[in-house]
């Protein structure tokens, strides 16, 4: 059974149709790259997958149940904004928050956060405040928070958009590790090189419609 299945999905915002995807399936453990120019509907699609936006028409199922019901969507997925939101507080507070939100105790959350920070090259950042992070560092912190949460469905909106080459490598490595561990990853990106390096199936979007679909 597909993890996500779309049936006649359409999304309208402010009276204009921004997304129309009659049919799409995303398999468990798949890495899917949403490619396309700005305004092609990549972020809207990710937000629908994260249940942050409800389709205007059609339905999306998750694990065979309507999205938002069934197999504990909120305990499995995590969505990263293109410009991630880092909460007021230190880096360790933010990363541990991901693990604590999933019910982990303080010690286990701290261990998991430390491992995630190591993976993202954030050693020595634990006490750094949220205001003192560059765009690339903020993206790494947000990804570390997502990984520390233990989610196995990662919805990533332009995860390397603000990253320099060093941050980009660390982010790519962390996503690859999650994919190798069996996580389902859907990422919106302009970075075709990243999509290729992750071995992602490409889905081209243009003006809210599927323009190009790579065979599985």
């Amino acid at each position: 059974m597909a993890l996500y299945a779309f049936d006649g999905l359409s999304l309208s915002l402010g009276g204009a149709e921004v997304l129309s995807i009659p049919e799409l399936e995303i398999e468990e453990g798949e890495v899917l790259a949403l490619l396309g120019p700005n305004g092609s509907g990549k972020t809207s699609l990710l937000k629908i997958l994260a249940a942050l936006l409800a389709p205007s028409e059609g339905r999306v199922s998750f694990c065979g149940s309507p999205l938002g019901q069934g197999c504990a969507l909120a305990r499995r997925i995590v969505y990263l904004h293109q410009q991630p939101y880092i909460m007021a507080g230190s880096v360790s507070y933010n990363v541990e928050f991901g693990a604590r939100s999933r019910g982990l105790g303080a010690r286990e959350a701290a261990e998991r956060a430390e491992a995630a920070m190591r993976l993202l090259g954030l050693e020595g950042f634990a006490r750094r405040g949220h205001r003192a992070l560059s765009g690339g560092e903020a993206q790494r912190v947000a990804l570390a928070r997502a990984i520390a949460s233990g989610s196995d469905v990662l919805l990533l909106d332009e995860p390397t958009a603000s990253a320099d080459s060093a941050s980009r490598e660390l982010i790519a490595r962390a996503i690859r590790r999650k994919a190798e561990a069996g996580a389902t990853i859907v990422l919106a990106t302009h970075d075709e090189e990243l999509a290729g390096a992750l071995g992602a199936r490409a889905l081209g979007l243009a003006r809210g419609r599927i323009a190009e679909k790579e065979a599985r």
């Binding site: 994260a50 995590v78 939101y85 909460m87 507080g89 928050f97 991901g98 604590r100 939100s101 997502a146």
Partner: protein, 223 residues
């Protein structure tokens, strides 16, 4: 005016006693109104969009209620024949604090609501997709909006410290017991004794400036 300064700088006991009492009443009423006010603000901010506007209008309407109306409402509760008459709060400091608590509560709620609606929408989305439970979301939001909470606290304090209707109706302006800066000013001015009224007016003026500067400094920045 020089006599007013003399009363203040000379540390005249009754004048400073009135100042201390006023600030004490304002402190306790702000304290008691804070938790319910914050929870009411959070509750209003978490309503569905269609209910948010009426809730905001209702809270704003409560903040605009004349203080004597609030005083009248609390009077009906704590007067001898009222449901809380057995507490014997009327014309006692507890009555003033209770009335000022009712006055401060909607101010806290409305400012907290306004501050929360200005939080970055990505914050809420981040909490939701991380799967944070209700209490974790509440605590994280309180931490995120702590400057809003402090600003609400300061504004409520300033409002109750400078009100006269509740103090007069529920406290009765009893010397050494419920006389506050505002009721003392009203009394002294009515008797034509302006020295202490001017001195207390100066204290209220300075307090208003400090409170407004505090709120301005703590209010969340736009953009």
């Amino acid at each position: 005016m020089s006599e007013a300064f003399r009363l203040l700088l000379g540390g005249e006991a009754e004048t400073w006693g009135i100042v201390g009492r006023s600030l004490g009443f304002a402190f306790f009423s702000t304290l008691f109104s804070f938790l319910p006010g914050v929870l009411a603000g959070f509750a209003a901010a978490s309503l569905r969009p269609r209910w948010k506007r009426p809730a905001a209008a209702f809270l704003n309407a409560l903040t605009a209620l004349p203080t004597v109306v609030v005083g009248l409402f609390v009077y009906s509760l704590i007067s001898r024949s009222g449901p809380l008459g057995f507490l014997v709060f009327l014309y006692a400091p507890a009555g003033v604090v209770m009335g000022q608590t009712f006055l401060a509560l909607p101010i806290v709620a409305s400012l907290v609501y306004a501050g929360l609606t200005k939080l970055d929408p990505r914050f809420r989305e981040t909490l939701l997709t991380l799967g944070a439970g209700r209490w974790r979301r509440l605590l994280a939001t309180a931490k995120e909006a702590r400057s809003v909470l402090v600003a609400a606290l300061v504004a409520a304090f300033g409002r109750v410290a400078g009100e006269v209707g509740v103090c007069m109706m529920l406290g009765g302006n009893i010397r050494g017991s419920t006389r506050t800066m505002t009721t003392a000013i009203a009394l002294d001015a009515s008797k034509g004794e302006f020295e202490r009224a001017m001195a207390l007016g100066l204290v209220l003026f300075v307090l208003a400036i400090v409170v407004n500067l505090g709120v301005h400094a703590l209010a969340p920045r736009e953009g």
